[in-house]
Symmetry: C2
Subunit: 248 residues, 2 copies
């Protein structure tokens, strides 16, 4: 196949996991696709809703192979949807696809955004990111830890709310503790913080806490962490950062 036909690769953010958290255009792209490609965990989330599709799933850290496979299939004439958890750009595959796409002329790329964990977890916790914020991943798989430390220090110095992705894993058991210790150089231990886990999936849960207590809370790779700014408060048990409207 291939040739003069303009083939299409959708890079699709599927949101937090439940089908209703997906946008209508994400659903439309998956319905148009011949083949759905993705990390096996995300492929399993969508598979029940698109029973007539072909699926190619790959293991967790095989991002380059997954993207190359999606491009190869599109180049061969398939309409392909590459699924990403949350958004397709934020820690997603869109950037890598652009980097690799030179290898696949004639494939039209369409990036479809999705609700990233900072937002889907935020909605469960209350309104933690109601003002300026930073999103920082604690994974040092692709980023030097020194860069992560610098970004945490800068975000704290700027009084930015934060959403921390990948706060821990089997291997990285003390990363959130190390991050909290850096933030505690600048921020008071009573800073309002929160955690959301398994957002939009079975076992979803959330917790509002303080920076001092967050330091000693175990987390895993399914947890998203929120650090409040100096205005963040607990209201009716929820984590709320006011935008600053006058209430009087």
């Amino acid at each position: 196949m291939g040739g003069t036909q303009m083939n299409r690769l959708y890079i699709v953010g599927i949101g937090p996991g439940k089908r209703s958290g997906m946008t209508m255009e994400a659903d439309e792209a998956l319905r148009r696709a011949d083949v759905i490609v993705g990390y096996s965990k995300y492929v399993e989330l969508v598979r029940p809703y698109y029973p007539d599709k072909r699926f190619h799933d790959t293991g967790m850290t095989r991002e380059r192979e997954r993207c190359a496979e999606a491009l190869r299939l599109a180049r061969e004439g398939e309409t392909v949807a590459l699924v990403c958890s949350g958004d397709s750009v934020v820690y997603g595959m869109a950037g890598l696809i652009y980097e690799l796409a030179g290898e696949a002329p004639g494939v039209e790329l369409q990036v479809i955004p999705g609700v990233t964990a900072a937002l889907s977890g935020g909605a469960i916790l209350g309104a933690p990111l109601g003002h300026d914020f930073a999103v920082i991943s604690l994974s040092d798989l692709l980023t030097p830890w020194e860069t992560i430390e610098k970004r945490l220090r800068c975000a704290a110095a700027g009084d930015l709310c934060m959403s921390l992705y990948n706060p821990g894993s089997h291997r990285r058991t003390d990363y959130l503790q190390r991050a909290c210790d850096i933030l505690l150089e600048t921020l008071p231990p009573e800073t309002v913080c929160g955690m959301a886990r398994e957002i939009g999936r079975a076992g979803e849960n959330w917790q509002v806490t303080t920076l001092g207590r967050l330091r000693d809370t175990p987390v895993d790779m399914f947890t998203t962490v929120y650090i409040g700014n100096s205005m963040t408060r607990v209201i009716s048990g929820k984590m709320v950062t006011p935008r600053g409207y006058r209430l009087d």
Copy 2:
């Protein structure tokens, strides 16, 4: 009405504007609502799709009145959806609703997230927020300009990508220029930048540029601006921040 019934107020992020950019759960909340409340511009975006609903629209800077009205209607026994552009938390109404909700016991709040402009505009531009990033509003209506300056300096010092909301308006014609001058203290003028305008609406357009040129580009309140980090590149005309996967 009122009394023992548990009434519901949905605070709904409707995404960038086109219906397909809305999540399925946002659509479901609007279909369940008796009344849809919001800023007139956003109410007009959804009105054609929910013809059997009642609508309450309010002017732009009347956020407190809008939220109080939504809570009043819910307390009276209506199922209410309060619509926010993009996400319901990020510069949205969820925080203000929590602040005011003490006035309306018996109203169950449900925050429904949406695709905020940083993500919907990012998908048009390529993959600008492919790594750690900050979202900062340049509006000083509710935030002192000194705080905005500090946050810009800190985000630049942290080599964070940025998405800047509210970069200009009729009144604030030089705010993006002032922001760029602050960023240029730290970042080189050739830093890759981008703009997305009227995302998901008629007249949608985008542009990739540099920080030096961005400084002298006119923008309005329908524009979202992107500042790259030290790794951001232009690939096939798109703005791409690699996550750092090895390509060899």
